[in-house]
Structure formats: C-alpha cells, structure tokens
C-alpha cells in the first residue's frame, strides 16, 4: 500500500510539468489546447530515441522540450495566423503528431531497458521534486516579466492588451509553445521512469492535465500565481493518489483507468458547483429572513 502511494507521488511529480503546461493554456491563456495528447508522446519519443542513439539523457530531455515547443508553435500559428478555431487547431496538430511520433520511433513501442537513464543511480522522488518545484518557481518568475504579464493579460482581456500595443498573436504563440514544451518534457520524464515509450501513451493526457489543474485549484486555492502553480503541482500528485486508491477498490483494474479518470474529473468539476450553489442558497435565505424580520419590527420597508 505504502509503496504504491509513494509511487503515485513520484509519478505525480513527473506529470506535474504536464499539468503546469495545461494550466498555461487552459487557465492563463484561456485556450483549450488539445495538442497535449500528441506532444506528450512526442516528448517521450524524442527522449527515448535520442537516448537509444547514445545521446546523454539530460540532453535528450532538453530536445524533448524543444520538440514540444515546436509542436506548440505550429498549433499557435494555425490558430492565430491561419484563423482556425482553437480547439480545432489543437485537434489537427494532435492527429498530425500521431504520425510524426510513429516516424520518430520507427515502431509503436520502444523500450529503454538496459540503456542509460536519467534516473540512473538517482532517487526518482528527489529528482522529480527538484524538477517540478524548479519549473514551478521559474514559471512564477516568468509570469512577472513584461512578456509574462502581457501573456496573462491576453487570456484575461484581449481587447485591453491590444489597445496597449501588445501583439496578442505573439503572446498566444509563446504561451502555447511553452505549454507544449513542458508537456513534452513531462512525456520524456515518464518515458525514463517507465523505461519505455508507446504511441498511445498520450491518449487522454489533456483530460488528466485538466483534472490535475481543477483538483489542485479546488483543494489548494488560486489566490495568486504562486499559490495556483503550487496547487497545480499538488493537484497532479493528488490525481495520482486518487487514481491509485481507486484502483484498490475491489473489482477495479487497469483497463478501467480512463473511466476512473473521467469520473474523477466530473467529480472535481461538479462538486465545487454544487457546493457554491448550496452556499448561495443558504446565504440568500439567511439574508431574506433578516430583511423580513427588519421589516416586521419597523412595520415597513426602510
């Protein structure tokens, strides 16, 4: 039990980069980017194939980052310059990447067993923690720079930032590229930790990313950027923990994974809505009762 929970925290930290990537597009830019399903595998494929060919693992991982950024760049260009709907540009890139990933790998499954590995002789938990926290802090700093501020403003009020002379096409492209670069890096990390890459490993990744963001924000709050990125990292871990626990429910097994994911995300989306609806109702009831009482005691509306 403890081992499996520890394993969940470990993989949660590695998936945290992907969740941070999804946070950039979904929350900051307000651009639901489905490229993620493809670029996650792209990152894994690049890291695996380069390592198999003798590239040092760290360098391979940096190439994953660049590969993901290029995929994001394409999606961003399709959306801003090609004027293709945001969702559709992501779907187009996702499907294109499916073939590109197969080309990179040469076959649907590639194993890293017996090869050099990023985690050779290292504690996965520690390395994962350093990477996740490091990227989180860098991202916090980035969002305070002038580029970062205009990127946030693009998602918050596009008309306004345009009237102040920022090129929103550019900020959107930067955001989507950075997002997919992080997603691809996360894919590379997962390839190293599981010692393999297969062409389907990215399927449903966007939903897991969204689940991490939503769960994180719901549990840990989103009052500031610092708080929110922390919540997203913790959300990625929380998702893995919930998932590990759900698998322990009698009758559940690995093939139910996508269903469990769907149920978790529905829960994370619906529970806060119900909670705030109940709260609103009780607040307005209380207030209405107060008003009635006041009217009754004064004998008229004041």
């Amino acid at each position: 039990m403890l081992t499996s929970l520890l394993g969940a925290v470990e993989s949660g930290l590695l998936y945290a980069l992907m969740a941070l990537g999804v946070y950039i597009t979904y929350r900051v830019l307000d651009f639901p980017d489905l490229t993620v399903d493809g670029s996650f595998t792209t990152g894994a494929a690049i890291a695996t194939v380069l390592t198999l060919n003798g590239t040092p693992p760290v360098l391979s991982l940096i190439c994953s980052f660049i590969g993901g950024a290029l995929a994001g760049l394409m999606t961003g260009l399709l959306h801003t310059k090609g004027k293709i709907n945001g969702l559709l540009s992501g779907i187009i890139m996702m499907i294109a990447l499916y073939s590109i990933n197969l080309r990179i790998m040469g076959k649907p499954n590639v194993s890293l067993r017996g090869e050099a590995n990023l985690f050779d002789g290292a504690n996965v938990l520690l390395v994962g923690l350093i990477i996740a926290v490091g990227v989180k802090l860098l991202l916090d700093l980035f969002f305070k720079t002038n580029v970062g501020l205009s990127l946030r403003a693009t998602g918050d009020n596009k008309r306004m930032i345009q009237s102040f002379g920022a090129n929103t096409d550019r900020t959107t492209i930067i955001g989507v590229s950075l997002s997919n670069a992080l997603v691809a890096t996360s894919g590379g990390l997962i390839a190293f930790s599981t010692n393999q890459t297969n062409n389907n490993m990215g399927v449903g990744m966007i939903v897991i990313g969204l689940a991490s963001v939503i769960i994180g924000e719901a549990i840990f709050g989103k009052s500031s950027i610092f708080r929110t990125t922390l919540a997203v990292v913790l959300g990625a871990i929380a998702y893995r923990l919930i998932y590990a626990l759900a698998l322990r429910v009698p009758g559940m097994d690995a093939q139910d994974m996508k269903l469990i994911t769907a149920i978790i995300i529905v829960g994370a989306l619906v529970i806060p809505t119900i909670r705030s609806a109940i709260q609103d109702k009780s607040v307005s009831r209380k207030r209405a009762a107060e008003v009635i009482e006041k009217v009754a005691s004064k004998g008229g509306v004041s």
């Binding site: 002038n146 205009s150 946030r152 102040f164 002379g165």
Partner: protein
Amino acid sequence: MLHIKEVSKLFNPGTIDEKVALLKADLQLKQGDFVTIIGSNGAGKSTLMNIISGVLKPDIGVVEIDGNDVSSLPEHKRSQWIGRVFQDPMAGTAPRMTIEENLAVAYKRGQSRGFSFGVTKKTKMIFREELSRLGIGLENRMNAKVGLLSGGERQALSLLMATFTRPQILLLDEHTAALDPARAELVTDLTEKIVKDLNLTTLMVTHNMEQAIRLGNRLIMMDKGQIILQVNEDRKSELTVERLLGEFEQISGKKMADDRVVLG
C-alpha cells in the same frame, strides 16, 4: 495632429445587410483640441473611433497622425500614439491581475516587452504617484485584483492607464455611460483634469448633450455616417441643448432619434 481624410467605410458590402458606417468623413484636429461627438444611433461615432484606433481599416480614405499616413498600421502598432477608454468598465482592465500589474502592462505601451520584471521598486513608485492623482485611494490597494474594484474605480483606473504614458491622442467612447451619476461625475472631472494637465488631443463620444456642450473646445454632430455639423471654439460657448437639437432637426430633417440620449 490628427487628420481623417475623406474616410468611407461599409459594413457587409455587397450583401443585403450592407450598411454605410462612414461616408466621406473629414475631420482635422490640432494639438490639444478636445472634440465631443454626438449623434443618433448608428451615426458612425464608434466606427470613427475604431477607424482612428486601427480596429477597422477605411475602405477609402486616409488617417494621418502628425502628418504620417497610419492607415495600414494595425491597432497594436498605432497604440503608441493612441490611448483609449471604452464604455464598458470591464473592457479597459484585466480583472484577474492586480492594480500594479495592470499598470505595468499599460506602462509598456508602444514598447517591446522583454524578460525584465514588470513591477519593480522603481515602477511601483511611479504607479503610486500616478494613482494618488486620482484621489480615490487606489494607491493603497496596489496588490488588489482589479476584478474587486467597483465600476467607477475601474473606469478611473482605465483612464489613468490610457493616459499616463502620455499618448498624443485620447479616444473616449462613452466612457461614463455605464456609471451611476455620482461616479460618472467623478470620472468626468478626472477626464477634464487629465486632458488639461497633459494637453491631450481628445475625441469623446457621449450621449449626454449637456456634457458634450460643457466639455472640450469643439463639438461635432454625426448622422448616417456623415459629420453634419461642426461647432468651433468661438461658437461652442454660446451653445445650449435646445439650440443643438434645433440644429440637428434643421440639418437632418428629423428629430434626434436616440433611445439613450441624455439632455442634461
């Protein structure tokens, strides 16, 4: 300073919904001119603003700023000369960012945005000083998210953000129309003060006749995409609301049709 040369603009050209938004509109502003614009619904007031700011491009005609043809420049390039405040208090600020972050975004108007920090000790001091000029206490709430401010506070902040980098031209698009009377008065007073202090060349669309007469040194009236009346400095001081409505009827041959018009 600003010259709109015979600008025409159609919406949905060649279709059954074709609409003439501007027809040979010609307007010339000198440095420091403050022009108020009135007109009935669909007269082309907002189109004129959008043509100047670069949101829309003229079908025919030219927009010149300081003698340079800017007609082909997109909005984000023209913004180095033009500050703008919209009618909707939500439009001019980013709600999920703090007051100082909003100001930092506005501070970089027309400059390239690099990887330096937007809010630093130095810029904070500038922001605090500028905010205190508004006199509504925002300088003590610089870390508050703008979404928490009232409509009037947001509009005052929008006005500051549109002007504190000293653009040459200020466009005000019914910027007090969505506010309650007291806050509208506050924002109007601030507008007058800022325009005067910075000697900004200003265009202001308003539905408030009294305001249109009281503010600025020139007034224009629009109808069906045309500028039908220009009142210059020397005549503006003698204007009254009745006289203005009378002029409109005389020129356009109909009553001023505007469901939102405020006579003052």
